[in-house]
Symmetry: C2
Subunit: 199 residues, 2 copies
């Protein structure tokens, strides 16, 4: 994964293991060639995922999977979307940003009634290698809670209640999340291309 995010790399590991794909060695960017990542300034998750994967492929010469993901809230016309990670404009460590982004989202939706609190986590995953590129999208529908709950996951997980669940994404185990999450769905859609690569 063209990411320094170990949680995303572990997720790819689990998806590949579950699918019985072997013959691939997964490396974090930190293991390979530290370089400045492209800023995520595209208009879509797909644009950003492809840009990151291309940059890492150019820097390393290795087949690269990159992810860009975020939360699309219906009452915000699909925003925060590609701005999910910097919605509050806050700087600081990841946990601090997560708290500020989540608090802002809840404040913005304070007067929005339950029937208009629908949302989706979206992940675009791009695979770039010397024979071509693939980009796929996975979605996970749900709604926005009125208060954060749970300590698992990251980002907006504590306020996202998956459709059919009463718990937030931050209250699910990693295995429960893998079974349905946006990123797992996107990575699963990449499996045919990854199998070919492992060929």
């Amino acid at each position: 994964m063209a990411s320094r995010n170990r949680k995303k790399l572990a997720e790819l590991h689990r998806v590949l293991d579950a699918a019985g794909v072997s013959g691939l060695t997964l490396l974090s960017l930190d293991d390979v060639a530290p370089f400045d990542e492209a800023p995520e300034t595209g208009a879509t998750f797909e644009d950003n995922a492809v840009a990151k994967a291309r940059q890492a492929f150019r820097a390393t010469g290795l087949a690269t999977v990159a992810d860009d993901s975020g939360l699309e809230v219906d009452a915000l016309n699909g925003m925060p979307g590609v701005l999910s990670a910097r919605w509050s404009g806050t700087h600081g460590d990841a946990a601090e940003k997560d708290r500020a982004n989540t608090a802002l989202l809840l404040a913005q939706l304070r007067d929005v009634p339950d029937e208009r609190r629908g949302a989706a986590f979206v992940s675009a995953c791009a695979l770039v290698h010397d024979a071509g590129e693939v980009v796929v999208r996975g979605e996970w529908r749900g709604g926005i809670a009125h208060e954060p709950r749970g300590d698992g996951g990251f980002g907006y997980d504590p306020v996202f209640v998956p459709a059919g669940s009463t718990r937030t994404a931050a209250e699910l185990s990693p295995a429960e999340k893998d079974a349905v999450s946006h990123r797992a769905r996107a990575l699963t859609a990449l499996l045919p291309a990854l199998r070919e690569l492992a060929g």
Copy 2:
């Protein structure tokens, strides 16, 4: 106007004067019957304008014009939209909220290039009286600056650069703003109905 905002009432006065409409007495809600305004929880500017005008009409029995307006930013899929006034979730006086909302918007758009900083001010104006209802929409296209400029106007005026202008809306005189603004356009579209009422 079903508003405690004297600036909006003055704008309606100017539009009516310029159009030569006489025979109407304009009262602020504060002059008539102080009551709790309906919260602006609709999904559209039109919903909110009609709800406010109906509430004021029911409370006073007088023909009522109400406005709901905000800023639609292209790179935010049309948000802050109906959430413009509480985008940052900040409480406090109007000037404080304006500063917080504007600062948040600029932070969210920090990495968005000029060609994707398009935006529009939008106003829906509703007229409710005993013979019926009319609701109209006015738009004012432009883009979002990188820094606030100017002391005039209110809300997002200091960061809104009207199409064809190099100044922000907060750097225009009231007369310049009236000639092109979203609210003036909406009020102008109400003129036929207001003339009928004055008739």
